[in-house]
């Protein structure tokens, strides 16, 4: 009895303490937010009078900037930035990258170093605690930070960034940018912008052992232009027979990339792209839940055929990537998921296991089902968020200056060359628009075997800085076989038009998330069970559809369409 009393008193005390503390600090913070709001208002006013502010710009700036002009600050200046540290090329203070940036711009970074695997977690923590750095690069999903006010609506400020604006205009990025606009009509990150989707076209594909496919009488080069999944299936059966049966395919990324690739050809979101399972139907100009459609059934039926015939093992969906890779390296399996950078890794490893020249790898153009599209159609990639703190602490002019620095480093041709290739004459040469890495330096498939690495030893070719650009720029870094692959891909397959955008507000998002997570969990679980044969597609299909409906799929569709129609 006494104990209960003690505990309840304690609980009460804690609550009171909590509320009092909360009330107090809450008020303080509330005041801050108001200030911030006021400031944004003044900004809005300012934009309205951009013409006027041009006059202001003519006043002496303590830095140079502009389209095709190097950003240079008269005084040395330091900006704080979060840095996603890659374990393959861990941060070094004495990288040429840092000194090269400082030499040209007089800017140096105060870095918050975070290992890449945990980057998102720490980024989120720092923003939540109000301790964010000014520059927050490598942001894939900014939506959590939008309503809290900790991150600037950067779309209000892009007009000060000449290189950025130039790219948007030259390559007509307006529709792409609409995809990141939030419910207030603004966007909150400076995205990486490509001229072509994913730089050079969809990079995720399958790589096959061409030597063995050829020997089995399967000529992928002739087939791939127009093949569909049945042709592909029959080709694999032939190869399987040729090698005497058994599993010839054990895929990586827990099958998520594969499901994404295959699903896309059936017009359904799956695997990595599963999202909330919603698909746009241009014919009726409305959205539907694709995961219970007939297309979906066809998709899982196809996938289950690969398993049933013993071509693919069901471990694909559960094994670690290294296991899948090892099976491929030793010649046990004959095809494997791949992307731009994996291809080179595969070659390096197989030169060791099988020996150079004793195998041939070939990136295939993915078969078709319902459309003739590539997988990727987004020309945006991760982006840079700017902490609102930067505006508070640097003032408007200071912020604009920083943005112009960012504009130069991330968006100008000079900046792009610098972070990619390094310093001309020192690490690379450029003749007639062709970049050539110095012979003693290697980088993903370029100059294999050279003693120094562009990223490890110099800091260039760095994922934090290197993003977006023209097709030419993106292609310049590709090895020959990749260039050849993207040529094939782009001539055989089209780019899918962008879906119209639907933007939800905070409350809608909260409600939808409550439906989405259990629903998509269930879909993913059922999908894999259908594919691996734990569930029977014909017998259990109706039950599956009913369960999706029991999980509120219809309510979700309704919310989607209501909002979509109201925003049209």
């Amino acid at each position: 009895m006494k104990l209960k009393k003690v505990i309840s008193t304690l609980l009460l005390a804690a609550m009171v303490l909590g509320i009092v503390a909360c009330g107090k600090k809450g008020d303080d913070k509330g005041a801050n937010t108001n200030n911030a709001e006021k400031q944004t208002e003044t900004n809005d006013n300012k934009e309205a009078n951009t013409e006027d502010s041009d006059a202001k710009e003519e006043e002496k700036l303590d830095y140079t900037f502009g389209l095709n002009t190097t950003f240079h600050s008269d005084e040395p200046i330091t900006y704080s930035m979060m840095y996603s540290d890659h374990e393959v090329y861990p941060y070094k203070e004495d990288w040429r990258l840092w000194s090269a940036i400082t030499e040209r711009s007089n800017v140096s970074f105060d870095l918050n170093l975070i290992a890449r695997a945990d980057y998102d977690d720490k980024k989120s923590l720092l923003i939540n605690a109000g301790e964010a750095s000014y520059i927050i690069p490598k942001t894939y999903d900014e939506s959590a930070f939008v309503t809290g006010g900790a991150v600037l609506p950067v779309s209000d400020w892009v007009q000060y960034m000449p290189n950025y604006m130039n790219f948007v205009e030259t390559y007509h990025m307006e529709d792409d940018l609409k995809t990141i606009v939030k419910s207030d009509g603004k966007y909150y990150k400076l995205p990486g912008m490509w001229e072509a989707p994913a730089g050079t076209g969809s990079e995720y594909t399958l790589v096959v052992r061409k030597d063995i496919f050829d020997a089995a009488g399967v000529d992928v080069t002739a087939l791939e232009k127009d093949w569909n999944w049945d042709d592909f299936y029959n080709a694999l059966l032939k190869v399987q027979q040729y090698v005497g049966g058994g599993v010839i395919w054990s895929d990586r990324w827990k099958g998520d990339a594969l499901l994404n690739i295959v699903g896309q050809t059936y017009d359904i979101p799956a695997g990595w792209a599963a999202g909330d399972g919603m698909q746009y139907d241009p014919a009726s100009d409305s959205w539907y839940f694709a995961e219970t459609s007939e297309d979906y059934k066809a998709f899982v039926t196809l996938m289950s055929k690969f398993i049933k015939s013993g071509i693919m093992d069901s471990e694909t969906f559960t094994q670690e990537d290294t296991v899948a890779e090892n099976k491929f390296y030793t010649g046990e399996t004959l095809l494997l998921g791949s992307n731009r950078s994996m291809l080179q890794t595969y070659k390096d490893k197989m030169n060791e296991t099988l020996g150079e020249g004793k195998y041939e790898l070939y990136s295939i153009v993915i078969p078709k089902a319902k459309n003739n599209y590539q997988i990727a159609n987004s020309r945006l990639e991760n982006g840079i968020m700017i902490a609102s703190k930067a505006l508070d602490e640097l003032g408007e002019d200071g912020l604009i200056k920083m943005l112009r620095f960012i504009d130069w480093l991330w968006y100008s041709d000079e900046g792009k060359d610098l972070v990619r290739w390094g310093v001309e004459g020192e690490t690379y040469t450029k003749e007639n628009g062709v970049y050539k890495l110095n012979p003693e330096i290697t980088y993903v498939g370029l100059n294999p075997g050279a003693p120094k690495a562009l990223n490890v030893d110099y800091g260039f070719g760095n994922g934090v800085f290197m993003y977006g650009g023209t097709q030419e720029h993106a292609a310049s870094m590709l090895s020959d076989d990749l260039k050849e692959f993207f040529e094939r891909l782009n001539s055989y397959r089209d780019i899918k038009p962008l879906n119209p955008t639907v933007v939800f507000d905070e409350d809608q998002q909260e409600e939808m998330n409550l439906i989405k997570t259990p629903l998509i969990d269930y879909v993913k679980s059922a999908t894999l069970k259908f594919i691996t044969g734990q569930a029977d597609i014909e017998k259990d299909w109706d039950k599956y559809v009913a369960n999706c409906e029991a999980n509120n799929s219809q309510r979700y569709v309704d919310m989607y369409n209501e909002t979509y129609n109201s925003q049209k």
Binding site: I7, E87, L111, L113, N128, T322, N462, G463
Partner: protein, 289 residues
């Protein structure tokens, strides 16, 4: 001493069981050791089972060369030693009074301590607090906020409570003060639990990557655990479809296993020295009034 037949059979059974345990726990570790001395090609073609294939120490060389491995190791040792001392002190001075049943306010203090095992503040408030106290990016962030583990306090309390009270009473009658009794009678009698706590706290600090990950922004302060996590996890949590143009190839398997070995080795080496404190019975005439 004569042994019954039953006891002899038991001993045979016991020995077999221990051998099984040793095999089950030692083999995976030896496998990691073997991997760490093998060539990468041998690992992914599945040739490594028990002995290294293509024996080499390149992996270790490259780990030690990469980053500032020696610096990280120094940090780890510093954190482990100073953190253990602080934790041990805090735990002992809390557990000792709590172990006295005649202290009436313990009816409040014990639940006061236990309550914190079930309700935490969450990451953000803790971060804000540590930041406000100015501990962020200092060694103290590693040592202070997590200094006392309630779980260990309660274990130590259980141990103290089980010590024979007669010795303390006798000392009190001899005129020894409370503090004297604690340091001269109780602590010497508590070597087994103290050495256990040293082991627990030290290994906890040794492997702690999370605290430094949260509070340290500069690599100079990183301990080995955080560096090794970076190597072992790599892209583990990255599942973005578009990784950009970055090289996404992971770290070699031999590097991962070598990291594990380097992580576990020091604790394994230190352990036998600590172990001697709880193999022998401590009471044996250690204190006479």
């Amino acid at each position: 001493m004569k042994e019954s037949r039953g006891y002899k059979i038991f001993k045979v059974f016991n020995t077999i069981l221990m051998i099984i345990v040793v095999l089950l726990t030692l083999y995976p570790f030896l496998y990691l050791v073997a991997q760490s001395f093998s060539s990468e090609a041998a690992i992914y073609s599945g040739k490594v089972t028990f002995f290294p294939v293509d024996f080499n120490i390149d992996t270790y060389k490259s780990i030690i060369r990469q980053g500032d491995f020696i610096g990280y190791y120094k940090n780890t040792i510093l954190y482990a030693i100073s953190g253990t001392i602080i934790s041990l002190f805090g735990t002992a001075i809390l557990a000792y009074p709590l172990s006295k049943p005649y202290l009436r306010l313990n009816k409040f203090f014990t639940p006061f301590v236990i309550f914190t095992m079930y309700f935490g503040g969450g990451l953000i408030p803790n971060f804000v607090l540590v930041n406000a106290l100015g501990l962020r990016n200092t060694i103290w962030a590693m040592l202070i906020p997590g200094a006392i583990s309630t779980y260990f306090v309660l274990l130590m309390k259980a141990f103290f409570a089980n010590l024979p009270q007669e010795l303390e009473e006798a000392a009190a009658i001899d005129g020894m003060g409370t503090f004297g009794i604690f340091t001269k009678i109780v602590l010497p009698l508590s070597k087994p639990i103290m050495s256990t706590m040293v082991l627990f706290y030290a290994s906890g600090l040794w492997g702690n990557w999370f605290t430094p990950f949260i509070y340290f922004d500069k690599k100079e302060l990183w301990p080995v655990a955080l560096y090794l996590r970076q190597i072992i996890y790599g892209a583990q949590s990255t599942n973005e479809l578009s990784a950009g143009f970055e090289e996404t190839a992971g770290i070699a398997a031999s590097v991962k296993s070598a990291s594990m070995v380097l992580m576990a080795l020091p604790i394994i080496c230190v352990y036998p020295f600590i172990q001697k404190y709880f193999v022998q019975g401590m009471m044996l005439g250690s204190v006479k009034g």
